[in-house]
């Protein structure tokens, strides 16, 4: 397959995922313009920039946000789109959009002050989970077992001083099996799915969870596709939990890692992503 467009790869570091993407592009004869997020500058008037489509693989949410808005401003399509990343990068906005689309999610209450956070935790009931609205890899998330623990954690979060820790995203603790489900959606296709196992309550692969391939049921595929569509679609990893009431979506990741998923399932996710990017570029 030969393509006539140049793929921009906006990245922070070259992990196995980015290396596979570069290889997949090379195998298809697609030239790649590498755009290192630590080095690129963004003039308000487009200048010296060749890519026809930019694939965002930056691990920095703030860099991604500004860069994708610039690419949009330059008239360059991106995977994912700015609006999708803005939405999925913020757990509060994601919860609202999923709820609006009727996608089942864990019970969630947001509070804007430490005092209100204690009230929110009382409303949700203990144990509960406290998350920063922006953040990933399970970082600085806390399972809160009682009011005393809540007061201590909120005090610590307040002491951190950043705006990210002054908004409190409180979620019910879902009594799930020692696993969650990750489904990777590319465009309108479920390309791979896996279980992530951990004895800890967080099941992020970044925290050392083990994985197993999963053949998605029609119900799981349908829910993952609905979640993806609700946030605007693209290349998205939908994370779900098995609650006593059924599947709930707890996260939609906009720049998914897929080393563990490719390893567990044998699916060449990088090629799927590059083919999708080529398809978006042709639109």
């Amino acid at each position: 397959m030969s393509e006539t467009f140049t793929l921009g790869l906006f990245y922070t570091v070259i992990r196995p995922e980015e290396k596979w993407i570069l290889e997949a592009a090379a195998n298809r004869g697609i030239p790649v313009e590498r755009l290192h997020d630590e080095a690129v500058t963004f003039p308000v008037v487009r200048n010296g920039f060749h890519a026809d489509l930019v694939l965002n693989r930056s691990v920095s949410h703030s860099r991604s946000m500004y860069a994708l808005r610039f690419f949009e401003h330059y008239g360059v399509p991106t995977v994912n789109a700015y609006d999708v990343v803005a939405l999925c990068g913020d757990k509060v906005l994601t919860s609202l959009r999923l709820s609006e689309a009727g996608v089942p999610t864990p019970e969630t209450v947001v509070a804007l002050t430490p005092e209100a956070a204690l009230k929110a935790l009382d409303e949700v009931g203990y144990p509960a989970v406290l998350k920063p609205p922006v953040g990933s890899w399970g970082r600085l998330m806390a399972k809160v077992d009682d009011r005393e623990e809540a007061e201590q954690i909120i005090e610590h979060k307040t002491a951190l001083g950043s705006s990210m820790h002054s908004i409190f995203y409180v979620q019910e603790y879902v009594p799930k099996p020692e696993r969650d489900l990750r489904v990777l959606v590319v465009g309108d296709e479920v390309v791979a799915a896996m279980y992530r196992f951990s004895k800890e309550w967080r099941t992020n692969a970044a925290r050392g969870a083990t994985t197993e391939p999963l053949v998605p049921s029609p119900e799981l595929s349908e829910l993952a596709l609905r979640a993806s569509e609700a946030v605007g679609g693209g290349v998205l990893a939908v994370d779900l939990m098995e609650s006593p009431e059924g599947l709930v979506v707890h996260e939609v990741n906009h720049t998914p890692e897929f080393k563990a998923l490719s390893g567990a399932t044998g699916v060449d996710v990088a090629s799927k992503i590059v083919d999708y990017a080529a398809e978006v570029a042709r639109r």
Binding site: V13, R15, K19, R34, S60, S136, W137, R139, S162
Partner: protein, 53 residues
């Protein structure tokens, strides 16, 4: 050929590419290829608060 900035272990270019991160085979420190010609590695960037997927 270059060396790990932490433990001094010799690091060969092999099939590494610019920007690639990889662990030092001896000390396990995560390294980043900062240049291919000349071949240089440095400590990989530290995870920031807004990093993720």
């Amino acid at each position: 050929m270059t060396e790990c900035p932490e433990c001094g272990r010799a690091i060969e270019k092999q099939n590494l590419i610019e920007g690639e991160i990889f662990p030092c085979p001896d000390c396990g420190l995560e390294l980043e290829v900062t240049s291919l010609v000349p071949f240089r590695v440095d400590t990989a960037p530290r995870e920031a608060e807004d990093w993720g997927e």
